[in-house]
Symmetry: none
Subunit: 223 residues, 2 copies
């Protein structure tokens, strides 16, 4: 899922980006109203987090223009005291609002609530690489004729590997992507790789799908 964050406060925008990335969003940034519209057009985000006080084109106008042609969920950010802005934003079509200052947890909760309320549940589409077909919502991977059930972390690892088939993904990258920035240990990744291999490799003692690159990381072999 992709989120577009629009805020002229660069530091805050970065914090917001970090927060949403942490829970799985891809994030695109814009720091003024015009760029917001451009990015919205170019990136087709699933969610827009929109500050109301912006240079070049104010947040209300951005919200109005987007809402005129799309259903993209919009959360507006406002300063305490700007209740008129909030009301106006909501009237124009924003889906929810958050008042600064707020905790990251609040934003995440609102983002997830808005995603739930305004559309189908966030169902990732299937991923196919060669004879592997992964359904992240069902946590099932089909290998030719066989269907294998994966756990949450196994599914996440395979999804990450399948997103870049043939590319070596560094250990640190996998630790962050699968477990989040709070991190994890090499031990955990080793175990997870082992578990995944035991489920999908014809012979996990001689892996053909998920292979290791010593000192670098792992990759999903191209078919």
């Amino acid at each position: 899922m992709k989120a577009l964050i629009v805020d002229d406060d660069l530091a805050l925008a970065d914090v917001l980006a970090f927060t949403l990335r942490r829970v799985g969003f891809q994030v695109v940034l814009a720091h003024d109203g015009m760029t917001a519209l451009e990015r919205w057009e170019a990136d087709d985000p699933d969610l827009i987090v929109l500050d109301l006080n912006l240079p070049r084109l104010d947040g209300i106008s951005v919200c109005r223009r987007i809402r005129a042609v799309a259903d993209t969920p919009i959360i507006i950010l406002s300063v305490r005291g700007d209740e008129d802005d909030i009301v106006q934003g909501l009237e124009i079509g924003a889906d929810d609002y958050v008042v600064k200052p707020f905790s990251p947890r609040t934003l995440v909760a609102r983002a997830q609530a808005v995603m739930r309320r305004t559309g189908a549940p966030p169902s990732a589409g299937p991923l196919t690489v060669g004879e592997l077909e992964l359904d992240p919502m069902r946590r099932e991977v089909r290998i030719g004729e066989a269907t294998v059930h994966l756990t949450g972390l196994e599914c996440r690892l395979l999804e990450t590997l399948m997103a870049s088939p043939g590319q070596v993904l560094a250990t640190d990258y996998l630790l962050t992507t699968v477990w989040g920035p709070a991190g994890a240990s090499r031990d955990m990744l080793k175990q997870l790789v082992r578990r995944l291999r035991s489920k999908i490799e014809p012979d996990s003692a001689h892996p053909q799908l998920v292979t290791s690159v010593a000192g670098v990381g792992y990759l999903l072999e191209l078919p």
Copy 2:
């Protein structure tokens, strides 16, 4: 479905309540603007029928406050001649209006039209998936030849599952959709799933219709 009726005329409020109960609504009453807001918060109604001339807080303000944070369908009641009020109410976000005096039939028609227009849960038509045919109004599901009566929550859960057959619906999504934004607990969903299964599954110990995806949620299997 629950309706909140707000009118300082007690007798009229009772008539309205009776009218809507007759067509299947649960009804909550409030006789002034402040109580209306309280009841709206506490009862999370699916529809609000709102007189504009109210003590303590007028109907326009009530409408504005509710509309600022929610999509609840609102029908405003007004006296002939108060066209400015009606226009203002609609601008603020009311969905429809009824001018006193009016017949009960008119109110019902408007209520149902508003529910349909604003995308409220499709209470009208039956849902069919495979051998399951759900009538939300009767709260009955037909499974082949057998007809089973469901409770309110059971019906809501099944309706939600049937709206996206074959798709895994996340636990949080189901909690919000079935119980509303106030949320609920996983325990409640577990129990509800159990009750629904006990009513519709051939063998609820081995569910074939409503199946679980560990760590994700539940789905209605495609036929």
